[in-house]
């Protein structure tokens, strides 16, 4: 037997790109095919494993944007370029990108929630005729927690992008002060001709309120997509941590349509 789905493979750490003090992007050598919105299990021998969303990928590499919160992530932050990171995956269903073709895409993300949509947003930015218009509301806590500053600028200048960047409680150039929910009303849903899809990613409480905000703006439930984060140990439907009733977030998600997601009650 050679096929061991939980056996990680050593991959070279190509680059480290700090975003904030506690959130860095790690570029790791990779040649596996990836879908936007999937995640991988990163591990450091001696320390452990952690599921991390793919925040970007390209020829021969994959990016992870990681917040330093505990054992494994602390360990990852102590690595240097050229060190090995062990990875397995990819896991999860990813965003239903086919659904977004030729439609307006509304993306509302908060904090580290930006990272699971980042590669998708980049793709939509680079291929301006894949979808139609892109409405992007991204929120951060304060100026110190802004992620992907370079990308934010690039997206702002793309002609088919309409962006609103927010900070919870700080005035800062290029950002509006307030929560992402405060700006949902600025999205002209009525003008989309029903040809649109919405994406929400962020902490559970943020997703809940954004979801409610969208519904209040008469967005049909089936046009809303969200990415769930649950405790995960295996990523392959064995350990049980991510299960909600008959649903395994690692296998069936992390991306769920709102019609399903609203019923996932822990």
């Amino acid at each position: 037997m050679t096929n061991n789905p939980v056996k990680p493979t050593a991959c070279k750490l190509l680059d480290i790109m700090p975003q904030t003090q506690t959130e860095w992007t790690f570029r790791v050598k990779n040649n596996l095919p990836i879908k936007h919105g999937q995640f991988m299990q990163l591990s450091l021998p001696k320390v452990g494993e952690a599921p991390i969303s793919i925040s970007g990928f390209g020829d021969g590499y994959v990016d992870f944007t990681i917040r330093k919160v505990g054992k494994v992530t602390d360990g990852l932050f102590s690595l240097k370029k050229g060190d090995n990171i062990f990875i397995r995956g990819c896991y999860g269903n990813g965003w239903p990108t086919e659904q977004f073709k030729n439609k307006t895409v509304v993306i509302i993300a908060g904090g580290t929630g930006v990272s699971p949509v980042k590669s998708l947003v980049n793709m939509l930015c680079e291929h301006s005729n894949y979808a139609r218009n892109i409405y992007l509301i991204l929120g951060f806590k304060n100026s110190h927690s802004i992620l992907f500053a370079d990308e934010l600028k690039k997206w702002q200048t793309a002609s088919h992008f309409h962006v609103i960047y927010t900070l919870d409680d700080e005035n800062y150039p290029g950002f509006k002060k307030g929560l992402v929910t405060d700006f949902i009303k600025e999205i002209p849903f009525a003008s989309f001709d029903n040809e649109y899809e919405c994406i929400i990613v962020g902490p559970p409480i943020m997703m809940k309120f954004v979801g409610m905000g969208l519904l209040m703006n008469k967005v049909p439930e089936k046009k809303i997509w969200m990415s769930f984060e649950r405790k995960m140990s295996c990523g392959i439907g064995k350990c049980g941590h991510c299960r909600i009733d008959e649903t395994y977030v690692c296998l069936d998600g992390p991306v769920f349509n709102y019609t399903i997601g609203k019923k996932l009650i822990d």
């Binding site: 939980v6 001696k46 452990g48 919160v69 064995k238 008959e246 296998l251």
Partner: protein, 349 residues
Amino acid sequence: MKHAQTYQLTVNEMNEFLEQLSKKYDIYAPVRISCGGRYAKDDSIIYQPINTYQEIEFHERSTYPLKEVLTPITQTLFYFTEDEFKESKSPQKDVLIFGRACDINSIKIQDQIYLQNGGIEDYFYKRIRDKIKFILMDCPEQFEGCFCCSVGANKTDMQSLAVSDNNGSAYVGIYDSDFNNYFAKYSAVDHEIQTPLENELKVDYPVIDNLDLANKLKEHPMWKEFDARCIGCGSCTVSCSTCTCFETTDIVYTQNAHIGERRRTCSSCMVDGFDKVAGGQSFRKKTSEKYRYKILHKVYGYNARFHTGPMCVGCGRCSARCPELISYPATLNKLSQAIKEIKGGVQHD
């Protein structure tokens, strides 16, 4: 049950038989651990490797389940150095396990998770599972709280052999021709080894046929009492034949900090931390929520995903081990009642 040739062996003959088997097989059976129980002078019964027939505990339910042979409480998955992960050694011999009907049936549920779920086979489970044959133990005396018959776990055809202890001798039934040659020197006797046909305890196992009903049940007041009663210790799930959850942990050897192990350790949705994510948030903080999650997995979630019935074989271990005397069958009855109320449109505030 398939019909079997049955032989009667003395204890000495059984021991000879086991000795011959041990050349090819590691043999596991429930074994009594003196003073291993929770309270003073109480024993426990745990699945362990055996050499002789007398080590097997036939007359009391094992405290801990058969699954421990396949998924030990702590299992080394990999040995690693800075730059390499190496799988731990596979079992060398084939494996024979003594188990009752419910115990053997519980492995179908373990298989469902470890081999079927998501179409992904767990390497560590499969490599031992492929080597296992079962020896069915009959249940002439049933134990307090057994309800295998209520969940259809009283019958099995997964056994290769069956053994019935008969005070100083044993009946052995053969269901797998691989074992025929061991019995060439004996003549068959007319005796059929039976699995339970009826339990004293009958449980009307609740059926929840859709997610909306399950979600409504989550709001039902029936769970409230468990905030005060359940202490979230996890005894029920650790001892459960059909629970499968685990944690993964890396450890470093103190002598050599560069090498270590990645381990899998049994885990439980009843225990704090099971659902804790970055930022310290958890989704089920109260024990009533944890208990509800456990029960609904057994009754609803598992069947809704796999359509093979409850995630339960009625072995009764969960209730037998609960230090707070929370009866799982009593909860199932309350759940049935709650389902009736919801279907009948009763409102709770």
